[in-house]
Symmetry: C2
Subunit: 346 residues, 2 copies
């Protein structure tokens, strides 16, 4: 089959790789129909995180089951499924707690040992614990499928930021970052009932999406000026802050705009943000919670809302490419010509 | 009156200072009967935090009300009272949330602008929001007063660590640090019903107190070896971790021994601990919450337990000095000859 392979920073290629097949009784093989390029893929694409030549790419995908191992009971060939960005057994202590990203048998798509989602097919280990069947009523409704696709990562990640930050009905949330996760964070804060949602970002096209998603206030200043603006407009900070970038300046801003006693929900993969303003956190009892999102835990409730028509994160997917267009999808995101690229595989 | 004054690292002196008097209608003047030297006093005593010559010392104290301003209604001359280490108005948004350390009109004892507790008397601003009356039944029961005294700081701070860490009945808690706060953290974890309480420390005399306070396991290894030992004995870490020191190695250990999905409750004043293992926190969804303890919020419930005989933190006070002995109290704690010094003022 054809799949996306990392060669070097700035160089991902779609090329021939071995076809996946059932190896364990708990496996499924899934033909990928839709995938995405993730903002976190840009970390290796830009050479910021070290990747090896030959690593497979893509962790956001959905498709149609082609084959299942003898132990798989929850899905069958022909079923449409979506996958979270991590696989998990669904049975261990952490999975039962809803923290599937810490599954003792789990792992992540792509890299050295797993198929990536940016390809024609995926061998999915632990299919019962990982895959979620898309109800047959969705059928081939392409618009609905596009609304479901972000549940594989960015929508669940934005939701995790909101949950970790303790967004509550009637409260105030601040979202740091206007990438796909930040925008989904806005949507999540609105879904959880926040009355005031302030987004900190810089790009007008994305902030327009944020407004459509429910942002009530937009702050385009940077760093300390942005912090001062939010402190001023909230009379001391936002009780719930969603950190959706992962670099030092965004983490500083997130801690800076948090209200005393508030919480920063952080979901941006840390990239040089390790040195925190712990003095402010300590003095004002500002908590930091979050991390890699257990998207699998959130898919059922978010999928219900998408199917009910009350949740639609698809506007973050503002570029569509085919499988051969994956390198262009990376380049467009790297150059900020696109918020997020959808790969329409077949 | 006589009170403790900072001159230089290693040099605190008890000398004559102006008598306190009522300045505002919300003030009380309190004759100090008991005070303490705090582990955090050692930061300026050791020259680690910068203090100015002439700063007044001591933030843990209790005494007998001598005079009150015209607006004070909750205490009257002759009442025995204890004070949290911060004063607060009791009325603002943060006080009403139980976060009195962020009070918009509040402040801390000692330093340039306030009387310190290590002296004969204190002008207490915002007396109604700050002071807690000790029931008359306590009278002059010196043993009971000694059990109440740690509620001014270390007992409430250990409790805050336990609450922030999410200690729950039947759960596992790890306590990093065997100073007075760490020991009170053990006591707090037991009070909240933790079934297993692991303390990480190095000094046998203190660890013996920890055992009396309810520690079920003692880890005396350091740094990575300690982390490995706790991970091994808990099968992956403690769900609730109390960080009771504030230096980099203790914070690293606290994050290192936290179970995926767990929480580090941090109450040690940060001293060079700003660079966190954010990668581990992110990858395992380990939260960090806590900060300067809103001890005022906790005094009523803790005082109830002390009076009921179910809580007694007094063993952390293993040295008693009189007011002239304050410099010796600092020295003894600095040289680790004492866990914590009580100052019996009069």
């Amino acid at each position: 089959m054809r799949a996306t392979v990392f060669h070097a920073p700035g160089d991902v290629r779609v090329e021939n790789v071995p076809d996946p097949r059932i190896e364990q009784g708990t496996d499924a093989v899934v033909r990928v129909t839709h995938a995405c390029v993730c903002g976190s893929d840009l970390w290796f694409y830009r050479g910021i995180s070290r990747w090896e030549e030959g690593y497979r790419c893509g962790h956001e995908w959905m498709g149609i089951v082609e084959d299942v191992g003898s132990e798989v009971t929850s899905v069958k060939p022909g079923d449409r499924v979506l996958s979270p960005f991590a696989f998990s057994d669904g049975e261990c202590e952490y999975c039962l707690k809803g923290l599937q990203t810490s599954c003792v048998h789990g792992g992540f798509w792509g890299g050295a040992d797993s198929d990536g989602g940016q390809g024609e097919a995926v061998r999915a280990p632990l299919a019962d614990g990982t895959l979620v069947k898309i109800p047959e009523v969705v059928a081939d409704d392409e618009a609905l499928l596009k609304s479901i696709l972000p549940l594989t990562d960015v929508m669940g990640t934005g939701h995790h930021a909101a949950v970790a930050a303790g967004v509550r009905a009637g409260g105030t949330a601040a979202v740091v970052g206007d990438g796909a996760v930040g925008l989904c964070g806005v949507l999540s804060a609105r879904r959880l009932g926040a009355e005031r949602i302030i987004i900190l970002g810089h790009r007008e096209d994305r902030l327009e999406v944020a407004r459509r998603f429910g942002a009530t206030d937009v702050v385009t200043a940077r760093d300390e000026a942005a912090v001062e603006e939010v402190l001023e407009m909230t009379g001391g900070g936002a009780e719930a802050v969603l950190e959706c970038v992962g670099v030092k300046s965004s983490m500083d801003s997130a801690i800076g705009v948090a209200r005393p006693g508030g919480t920063v929900g952080f979901v941006g993969v840390p990239q040089g943000s390790e040195e925190l303003n712990l003095g402010r956190m300590f003095g004002s009892n500002i908590a930091l919670r979050g991390g890699v999102a257990p998207v699998r835990a959130y898919i059922p409730e978010l999928l219900d809302d998408v199917l009910a028509g009350t949740l639609d994160p698809s506007p973050v997917l503002d570029l569509t490419v085919d499988l051969d267009g994956v390198p262009e999808g990376y380049a467009a995101m790297d150059e900020r010509r696109a918020i997020k690229a959808m790969v329409r595989v077949r």
